[in-house]
């Protein structure tokens, strides 16, 4: 099928990037949700543990100073679980008794009279405050003793970190694998487009070749008709000549179609350095008769030796088409200006005319095939001239733009990469 056209390649790249971006987004979202759920689940577990422990302890009497060690022994799991228990008495900021892993977590929160359970959370700990049963309190007024059970979140943090690493690794691996998969997928996706373009191109080629057969027969018969016709029979000769002209137009059209169909591949074969200024000068010289006929005023501003890497025949065709266009749409005694210069690494050629110009809504379709400014076909063009010019520009790595004012004229700007002699 040949190398896919640039259009198809671009499409494939866009699809590929879009696919990867959306996949990355989805995976990231998934990872975040998973992490969040895990974190909440861990916290939930800790909270219920604290709840149970605090309930348990709240029914115990306040440990007397000194008896902490006994209690500590019987509650060894406090330290291993990063848990701490503190008893507070109203009026005293510091805890009166403590159990478990020592951790300073600040004062009690403000205690509202109605509330029984209060949760506190710090950057790496969580705590539950509850009042001790009044029945267990000796020497203290009811409602003045609280206990706070707290737990460090180091374990959870560690687990989260592990989860983060695992997620990062798997998301990374998934994306890496997807890069390859996506390439295959997008290639499949653009295949119909590629096939369609190929078919279109092949049709264009085939049709043009088929048309050449009848054109050959037409041309041969016209030539012989003219050769054999009686010179005295002027009218008949004119008819043959007219048929000959129409046939020549059709031949040109077929050649143009073939050129366009081939250029769809957007490849230049046998590129060589081409002197653009010389080419333009040649084009002008070839059109001298036409210029004289319509009394067009021509001005040329060509920088000498502007070199471009490309195919001379195609570049000649490009400028011929632009020049023909300018001549065709400029009224008699109008002005045409051709300028060419080098700016940085680019060669720019401008073909300006003082012709009928184009309106703003006509401009976007200008380089379409068979588009014409006026529906009248008498102007002798094939309607493919600008489409071909545009294609040739693109194939040479350049671009073509047009600016125009209705009634005043148009300016076609060709921009091509300059040739750097190595």
């Amino acid at each position: 099928m040949g190398r896919p056209a640039k259009l198809v390649q671009r499409q494939q790249l866009e699809l590929w990037l879009l696919y990867l971006a959306s996949l990355a987004g989805v995976l990231l979202l998934f990872a975040l949700v998973l992490r969040g759920v895990f974190q909440q689940s861990q916290l939930g577990t800790i909270r219920s543990a604290l709840s149970v422990v605090s309930e348990d302890l709240a029914s115990l009497p306040l440990p007397a100073p000194g008896s902490e060690r006994d209690l500590q022994e019987s509650r060894k799991d406090f330290a291993t679980a990063h848990q701490q228990v503190e008893w507070f008495v109203k009026g005293r900021a510091a805890p009166v008794a403590r159990l478990g892993e020592v951790r300073t977590i600040g004062p009690l929160p403000p205690l509202a009279p109605g509330k029984r359970l209060i949760w506190q959370q710090g950057s790496d700990w969580i705590a539950l405050v509850r009042p001790v049963d009044s029945s267990q309190v000796e020497g203290h007024a009811p409602g003045t003793v609280w206990l706070r059970v707290s737990e460090g979140l180091e374990n959870t943090e560690a687990q989260l970190t592990q989860l983060d690493l695992a997620l990062a690794a798997s998301v990374g691996a998934a994306l890496l694998l997807s890069v390859l998969m996506a390439r295959l997928l997008t290639q499949r996706a653009v295949e119909p487009l590629q096939r369609s373009l190929s078919r279109l191109r092949q049709f264009s080629l085939d049709a043009s070749h088929e048309l050449r057969g009848p054109l050959a027969a037409l041309g041969a018969n016209v030539e012989m008709g003219l050769l054999e016709s009686d010179p005295a029979f002027g009218q008949q000769r004119r008819r043959f000549e007219a048929i000959g002209q129409a046939t020549a137009q059709m031949e040109q059209l077929v050649d143009d179609l073939l050129l366009l169909a081939r250029q769809d591949e957007q490849r230049i074969e046998h590129a060589e350095p081409v002197d653009i200024s010389a080419l333009l000068q040649l084009q002008v010289d070839l059109n001298r008769d036409g210029l004289a006929l319509h009394q067009h005023q021509l001005s040329l501003e060509l920088e000498p030796e502007l070199l471009v890497l490309g195919q001379p025949i195609l570049l000649q065709r490009l400028f011929r088409n632009l020049f023909d266009n300018a001549q065709r749409y400029t009224p008699d005694q109008g002005a045409i200006r051709v300028s060419a210069q080098r700016r940085g690494g680019r060669v720019t050629v401008a073909v300006e005319d003082s012709g009928v110009g184009l309106s703003a809504d006509q401009l976007p379709r200008l380089f379409d095939r068979f588009w014409r400014a006026s529906p009248d076909r008498g102007d002798g063009g094939t309607g493919l001239g600008l489409a071909i010019a545009s294609r040739i520009c693109l194939a040479h790595g350049g671009s073509i733009r047009v600016t125009s004012q209705l009634g005043e004229g148009s300016c076609f700007l060709v921009d091509l990469p300059a040739y750097q002699a190595a």
């Binding site: 088929e210 050449r212 057969g213 050959a216 027969a217 041309g219 041969a220 018969n221 012989m224 050769l227």
Partner: protein
């Protein structure tokens, strides 16, 4: 030259035939590839104009067979396909030159002329001389000194043939084979008639008869008087 035209498009073939005959070639037309090859193998042709797409056997196959048999034949292929690969294929198969349709007749004539120069047969040359008799092969004009001679196409061909092969003896049958196309309804009597017409015209113009008759054997170009 004796040319075989293999072209299946009748609309193209007819004007081509007329044109080539005007150019004083002897042309035979085939519209089927297999039949064309048979005729080429049978011999008698110097140039084959082959359309690339033919019913029966296509142009490429014909050329390959012709080359395989090492027939002394010039081949000009006529093709509607101008893609470089197709042309290369054609030339590789053994064609000597190619023309892309549609083409101008003048282009065809020019190509044939340039191939003639490569022909294994003696080149027609641009002009032949015999005493004061001058034959301009390219323009198809004959004159004695400065006096133009109004010869028909066939008369010109006959005279030209003799001038190209001075001293060589040709029977009527041989002349018929050489200067008349295969399917032409012509016989040895036709040859005799045309020769007589030619000689009468020359005599009326005051030209000494260049052609010698050897009864029972044939004709040849005589020495310059």
């Amino acid at each position: 030259m004796r040319i075989l035209l293999a072209e299946d498009d009748k609309l193209l073939a007819e004007p081509l035939l007329d044109y080539l005959q005007r150019e004083r070639h002897v042309v035979t037309w085939f519209s089927d590839g297999a039949l064309a090859l048979e005729a080429l193998v049978a011999g008698g042709f110097e140039l084959a104009l082959l359309d690339w797409m033919l019913p029966g056997l296509d142009g490429a196959a014909i050329v390959r067979e012709v080359r395989r048999r090492q027939l002394p034949l010039l081949v000009l292929m006529l093709t509607a396909r101008d893609a470089l690969e197709d042309v290369v294929t054609g030339l590789r198969a053994g064609a000597d030159d190619y023309l892309v349709k549609p083409f101008r007749m003048m282009e065809l004539a020019a190509r044939i002329r340039s191939l003639e120069r490569r022909s294994p047969q003696p080149y027609r040359g641009d002009s032949h001389h015999w005493g004061e008799l001058v034959l301009d092969a390219e323009a198809g004009q004959a004159r004695w000194g400065l006096q133009p001679l109004g010869l028909t196409s066939k008369e010109f061909q006959l005279l030209e043939w003799f001038l190209r092969h001075p001293g060589q003896l040709f029977s009527r049958a041989r002349l018929l084979d050489q200067l008349w196309p295969l399917e032409a309804e012509a016989g040895e009597e036709t040859v005799k008639t045309h020769l007589n017409n030619l000689r009468r015209k020359l005599r009326l113009a005051g030209v000494p008869d260049p052609i010698e008759t050897l009864h029972g054997q044939g004709y040849r170009l005589g020495p310059v008087p």
